[in-house]
């Protein structure tokens, strides 16, 4: 008989779990609530909180509005077109965030046609909350598409066929049969997208160093004032994310 694979596997899995759990426990244990609360007065922190929450909410909503139709279409299509489009949707997920920021700069940056037009009309796309939204949407919305696609695929298409053979249009069928049944899956995707958006760092720092989001604010505090100054902001960000996610579900 060989080694006891069951025991080996159990140990490996348990170690990974501890690796996920320990840092979080450590963070929560190491911070005094008063220090965290004290930083809530800091205008820089309040500004970053506002920017992060507003931008993440907007980019998540944009992802839902534009992403659900795409996800539905992908779920009901087959063949090579589906494969190609799916690959394109996954692209922002596998693209390094910092590269995402750079590629966005080539399209909406200040020196590009789109960027100049936008600036001229008073809505600059970099160093603005619009830039934050653009960065977050690019990076986070694929989570909506990928998860909602899986949720739509999980709805038995005979139910749609049944609805339509009962005389209901495609739009009515989607609204009253498909969406309600896919809803739990869609909500999971929305949650993931919001979390990804509010934590977005690499693309945002390229596209919109100002107005600072919380991750950028943490980086600035860390690199100029050190770990202990950045910590309370990180706890606040963690708190904001957790509260938003709980509200979402």
């Amino acid at each position: 008989r060989g080694p006891d694979w069951l025991a080996v596997a159990t140990v490996l899995g348990a170690l990974l779990l501890c690796y996920y759990l320990l840092p979080v426990l450590s963070l929560v244990a190491s911070q005094s609530p008063t220090a965290v609360l004290a930083r809530l007065d800091d205008p820089a922190v309040v500004g970053a909180m506002t920017t992060s929450v507003v931008a993440s909410t907007v980019s998540t909503l944009v992802g839902v509005a534009f992403g659900l139709p795409l996800a539905y279409w992908l779920a009901r299509t087959d063949g090579r077109v589906k494969t190609l489009v799916t690959a394109l949707v996954v692209l922002p997920l596998v693209l390094p965030p910092i590269v995402s920021g750079m590629v966005l700069l080539t399209v909406v940056g200040p020196d590009t046609l789109v960027g100049e037009l936008a600036s001229a009309s008073g809505l600059p796309l970099t160093r603005s909350i619009a830039g934050v939204v653009l960065a977050q949407t690019f990076v986070a919305s694929p989570f909506v598409v990928v998860t909602a696609k899986a949720a739509f695929e999980g709805v038995d298409d005979r139910l749609e066929a049944a609805s339509r053979s009962l005389g209901k249009s495609r739009a009515t069928t989607v609204r009253r049969v498909t969406l309600p049944l896919a809803w739990p899956g869609i909500l999971a995707g929305v949650t993931l997208a919001f979390a990804r958006a509010i934590g977005e760092f690499g693309a945002t720092i390229m596209l919109a160093y100002y107005p600072r989001t919380m991750p950028v604010q943490i980086w600035v505090a860390f690199s100029t004032e050190g770990l202990s100054e950045a910590f309370p902001v990180a706890v606040v960000l963690l708190g904001v994310s957790v509260v938003s996610l709980v509200v979402l579900n």
Binding site: D156, R158, L159, A161, A162, S163, R164, S165, L166, G167, K168, S169, R170, R176, V177, P180, L181
Partner: protein, 357 residues
């Protein structure tokens, strides 16, 4: 009236049709093995999959190319396809063109008591009733059913079969009911169509298809398991004598039913339930002496006994035996005291011999 005209559907590895079929305000049962295209037929007529050619007309309206919601074809899907997030009542209301019909249909199909339940809390029979009521609530111009009884337990299936028979009779629309179960097909259908590999193998009034299957496939699939090669032994103007071997007649048929000459062979089929039994009698019945055989197996199937009877058409033990599938009612088995290893005499009414050709 539902008219299919050279209707055709193609998948990667399967071609359905082209198929011509007309269904009046009657019940057409479509029988076929799995993979023969039964569900494809319904899906194409309902517009759930698009046809590759041909046309569908319902009461004169051209349906080809229309979306499913504009066809007026009500489909009862296998296992119901009820909306799981709605109660039975909500399922009906969703479909109903007239809210008042919900109660009426719930009454008709005896589902009043379960209207408040979600599909997950319904039994198989209740699910089928709700699905049927939902489809009827949309007031369809044709009703298409996909294996309505296949997932039900025997007592419920027997009961629902009789109820559906009555219900379909009261609807004045074309009904197409697809099934792989020959008993359901013959119990429900006014007419019967047999599909094989996406092609129509035979269609006609139910009793005609059951009693006169046109091909060995239809014969076997509708239960006429004995597909035999018979020889024309004698021929007069009025009658033709068929036998399984020289000097061993099987039945004397009306002369118009067989065109082959003496000495030529024809393929015939006989349903296992159509044999008449005797115990070692040689008295002529239906004009010929009975076949003598030995019961090789006798299996109690509950409502009938299934026998394999080996006959020696050559009359002596040197010729190869021919195994006939025969079924007998329990009363017959007990009356004659049939048992494995014993000799029996089998006769068959010439009307029960089907000439395939």
């Amino acid at each position: 009236m539902l008219e299919l005209d050279a209707l055709e559907t193609r998948y990667d590895d399967f071609t359905f049709g082209p198929l011509d079929l007309t269904v009046e305000d009657e019940v057409l049962a479509v029988l076929g093995p799995s993979g023969s295209g039964k569900t494809t037929l319904l899906s194409t007529v309902a517009g759930i999959v698009s046809s590759a050619g041909g046309s569908v007309r319902l009461d004169g309206r051209e349906l080809t190319g229309r979306p499913p919601e504009a066809r007026g074809t009500g489909v009862v899907f296998q296992d119901g396809a009820l909306f799981p997030h709605m109660t039975a009542r909500e399922n009906l209301s969703y479909a109903a063109t007239d809210a008042g019909r919900v109660g009426e249909l719930a009454n008709l199909l005896e589902i009043d008591d379960v209207l408040g339940r979600r599909p997950g809390a319904l039994s198989g029979g209740e699910r089928q009733r709700v699905a049927l009521a939902r489809t009827l609530a949309a007031d369809p111009d044709a009703l298409l059913l996909d294996e309505p009884l296949s997932s039900l337990d025997a007592p419920i299936r027997r009961r629902l079969r009789l109820e559906l028979h009555d219900l379909f009779g009261s609807l004045d629309i074309p009904v197409v009911c697809v099934t792989h179960d020959q008993r359901t097909a013959s119990a429900l259908g006014d007419r019967l169509a047999v599909l094989r590999d996406g092609q129509l193998e035979q269609a006609g009034p139910c009793s005609a298809v059951l009693e006169r299957p046109a091909t060995p496939f239809v014969a076997r699939f509708t239960g006429s398991e004995n597909v035999l090669t018979a020889r024309v032994l004698e021929r007069t103007v009025e009658a033709v004598l068929l036998g399984l071997a020289p000097g061993r007649p099987l039945a004397a048929l009306d002369g118009t039913r067989v065109t082959a000459d003496v000495g030529e062979t024809v393929t015939v089929s006989v349903h296992p339930a159509r044999f008449e039994f005797g115990r070692e009698t040689t008295a002529e019945l239906h004009g010929v002496a009975p076949l003598q055989g030995c019961v090789q197996r006798l299996v109690n199937e509950g409502d009938q006994y299934r026998l394999v009877v080996e006959t020696r058409p050559g009359g002596d033990s040197s010729t190869a035996g021919l195994a006939l599938a025969v079924t007998a009612a329990p009363t017959t088995v007990s009356r004659l005291g049939l048992a494995a290893g014993e000799q029996v005499s089998l006769s068959v009414d010439p009307a029960d011999v089907n000439v395939i050709g």
